[in-house]
Amino acid sequence: MEPVKLTAKDYKTSVPIVWCPGCGDFGVLNAMHQAAAELAIPPENLMVVSGIGCSSRIGGYVNAFGFNTIHGRALPIASGAKLARPEMTVWAAGGDGDGYSIGTNHFVHTIRRNSDLTYIVMDNNIYGLTKGQVSPTTPHGDVTKSTPMGNPDRPLNPLALALELGATFIAQGFSGNVKHLRDLIVQGTRHKGFALINVKSPCVTFRGRQEFTVVREHGVYLDESHDPSDWNQAHEVTQWSEKIPLGVIYKIEGVPTLDQVAADLQEKAREKQHFESTKDLLRIFH
């Protein structure tokens, strides 16, 4: 019997979606459904781990083992899950506040360990669920509910940060281009190691519909002239100030992942120590 071909529909759930009409995150969700189908991941072998925020509700909107965790902790929870079940596919997801503010420490160290996850960040430059406060990627000077005189801080550059930290896969997508984003998620999932996919995913309620226009006007799709294995080129792209790079910015293979390192260590330990049972281990206490 031929296996049944999975389609995007197979990854939808009955959980009611709480997003505002026109929210950029719908595009991301569609791209995730399509990517899962394209990768033909059986839903029971997929884990989608998110944090807290509008976008983090996405953990419930994909037919998978979804986990809508706590604020900022999607990455360590996803990493623990991957470590426990390396044979499974793990997607982590969340927003810019979740990943680049309260969860920054985990962002840094998950990259350092090259935990084999695809991390989809719906970057909307605002705290949406709490109704409109300044976020770590809000442009300098922007008026928000918590910065009535304009944002005094300069925004964080997640792409440059990830590159500097040694991330092995860095891409940027746009929720207004589902097909392109789907391809990025597919590539990120196939990549062995930590894959950051920062998605420009506008908040129409607190940032306005024009955010879509901004990305459309300033977005530049990286073409063949960009070599994603070239760190210097990647670095230059992350420093663009007017243009918004879209596509795979940086990618290297062959860096050991957290779960591979763990498996190697287990093998090494068994060769060296070869304890069959915990009773054998008693001799260390004599």
Binding site: V15, P43, G66, Q266
Partner: protein
């Protein structure tokens, strides 16, 4: 004497702890019981340190209130331990004559009539062995000879430590030990000895610290993912598992912070593997939000808290029992959790297994409340006792038959069959949001009530699990001491001492603190007219906890509570027993 307590005090580089370890290992080899407390100052290297070792052929429950035999490398260092090292009348004190402190300035109470003996520890090590660092081994030889400790067993321990890698180091150390022994015979009159008359069973015992025991217990229970962040006094758990867990197919991650550590454990357990994290009070505070997630999402999880003196940084290297409130009441919301309290080193091993048993069976976070006093002390343990109790640790997985799967199905027990990734048709949404039976989020107050009841049902069953209360002493006594965790040692010893004085008293020590096993406590308290709750918490957390959560206390219930740092003494407990027993 059948029961000797000796102490060695010096600076970090003096090898005080190493010498202590050898004594304990030698005792273990002879089948004797030993108990060792280590104490350090705040310095990383070179600060004061002391080892306090008690040896007997009788079971040992505490460190012993008084020291019979003291070795001082430096009077200045000893002065820092006066809180902890109290000499018995007529104790023998050996001090290094290289310390030129005038005798009138020795920090020793003249009324104790201690026998003071100068010994050239440093000189012998430097001039005869030519290795000044061996002065601890010279002292070990002196101690062994004076106490009649088994010298062959000490030498065995030395050889084992240096092993095949450094045979010359073993030789030098053994030479130093022999030199110490010879010095005693050449210089001290016969009769100076405090002879330890304990006969070992010759059945070797194990030597374990409480931190190692809890880690070993977790390993035995089948932990597969451990995540931790370094913190005194819990780091040895991280180190033990880092060394041994990979051999058993598991992984240790030293995470970026405390929150990540519990998060890794939650993720791993949710994905289907037994997981644990460990920390001390300040780190546990950081983990509280995630602990609540494990509670509402009903994810099995074991969290060890090796309590230290708080609040905030407190005294990191010393013990207290003041994280009880944090354990039973931490995290926002009404979240079911289990709190287990081990009471000695062996119990740390058993409680780790019980923790996994309860966590997996009831899909609930379990907190193990150990403390520095348990975690960092060494005790000899009978191998036979260790594996005597068997527990089947398993998680109830759903049987999927193609129908609709409800992760949080309302059941009589409150436990709903779980699925883990890879189980076809078992997908669901897990979250910290209040949820319907199938996991979908809800804001309904009615559902919140129903789900709160469901989660609480598990607690009623856990409270009825057997074997979680220990009682000691006279079952008919009208006076009871209520204690928990590491206080058990001094309490148990005091209860035995009281019995010898003809005082009727019993001790009740619950191992399961939350939910309280009320029925068993009711039985234990039958006929009891007065109770004293004894603990090392200035705020009397256990007393107040019992008052708030338990209706069965006798009308006359008193509190004896003080801050930690100095271990609970047998004499302190005995005083309470005498006070309240005499009112009978």
């Amino acid at each position: 004497m059948r029961d000797v307590t000796l102490a060695i005090a010096g600076s970090g580089g003096d090898g005080v702890i190493t010498a202590g370890d050898f004594i304990v290992q030698a005792a273990a080899r002879k089948g004797l019981n030993a108990f060792m407390l280590k104490s350090y100052g705040p310095q990383i290297r070179g600060g004061e340190s002391s080892a306090r070792i008690r040896i007997s052929d009788r079971p040992l429950y505490s460190q012993g209130d008084f020291v019979d035999f003291l070795v001082v490398f430096s009077w200045k260092d000893l002065a820092r331990f006066l809180d902890e090292i109290k000499l018995r009348k007529g104790a023998v004190v050996l001090y290094d004559e290289a310390d030129k402190t005038p005798p009138e300035e020795f920090p020793i109470d003249a009324e104790l009539g201690a026998e003071l003996i100068p010994v050239p520890f440093k000189k012998m090590a430097a001039e005869e062995i030519k290795v000044p660092l061996t002065k601890n081994m010279v002292a070990l030889g002196v101690i062994a000879e004076l106490l009649h400790l088994p010298l062959d067993a000490i030498k065995d321990a030395v050889i084992k430590k240096f092993g095949k890698r450094k045979p010359e180091a073993a030789e030098v150390n053994i030479h130093a030990i022999d030199l110490g022994k010879k010095w005693v015979n050449d210089n001290l009159p016969k009769g100076t000895q405090i002879v330890l008359e304990a006969e070992g069973t010759d059945e070797p015992k194990l030597v374990m610290t409480g931190d190692d025991a809890v880690a070993f217990g977790a390993l035995h229970a089948g932990v597969k993912v451990f995540a931790g962040y370094p913190i005194t006094p819990a780091s040895p758990i991280l180190e033990f598992l880092s060394k041994w867990l990979p051999n058993f197919g598991g992984t240790v991650v030293q995470t970026e912070d405390e929150i990540a550590a519990i998060s890794y454990a939650i993720g791993a357990s949710w994905a289907g593997r037994q997981a644990m994290t460990a920390s001390s009070g300040p780190g546990i505070a950081l983990k509280q939000e995630a602990l609540g997630l494990a509670g509402i999402a009903e994810i099995p999880l074991v969290v060890v808290n090796v309590q230290r003196v708080g609040p905030s940084t407190g005294i990191p290297s010393k013990s207290e029992q003041a994280d009880l409130y944090q354990a039973v009441g931490g995290t926002p919301g009404d979240i079911p959790r289990v709190v287990l309290a081990p009471s000695d080193v062996e119990d740390n091993f058993q409680v780790a297994i019980e923790a996994f048993y309860l966590a997996e069976k009831y899909q609930i976070p379990v907190i193990i409340l150990s403390d520095q006093f348990l975690g960092e002390r060494s005790e000899t343990i009978d191998e036979k006792v260790l594996f005597a109790r068997k527990r089947v640790i398993s998680r109830q997985l759903a049987k999927l038959n193609g129908g609709e799967y409800k992760r949080y199905k309302l059941t009589d027990t409150g436990v709903s069959p779980m699925t883990i990734p890879g189980m076809r048709g078992g997908q669901y949404i897990t979250s910290g949001l209040e949820h319907l039976e199938d996991g979908r989020p809800t804001s309904s107050g009615t559902i919140h009530q129903v789900m709160s009841e469901k989660r609480a049902r598990k607690l009623h069953l856990i409270a009825e699990e057997s074997g979680f209360v220990r009682t000691y002493g006279d079952p008919e006594a009208e006076l009871a001491i209520l204690a928990w965790g590491s206080s058990k040692g001094a309490v148990r010893e005091a209860v035995e001492a009281a019995a010898e004085q003809g005082l009727k008293v019993k001790a009740i020590v619950p191992q399961l603190i939350y939910p309280l096993p009320e029925k068993v406590l009711d039985e234990a308290l039958q006929g009891v007219k007065r109770a004293v709750v004894i603990e090392l918490s200035y705020g009397a957390q256990f007393y107040r906890f019992l008052r708030a959560y338990y209706d069965g206390l006798p009308a006359e219930t008193y509190s004896y509570a003080r801050g930690g740092a100095n271990p609970l003494l047998v004499s302190e407990v005995l005083e309470q027993i005498q006070k309240y027993a005499q009112e009978a």
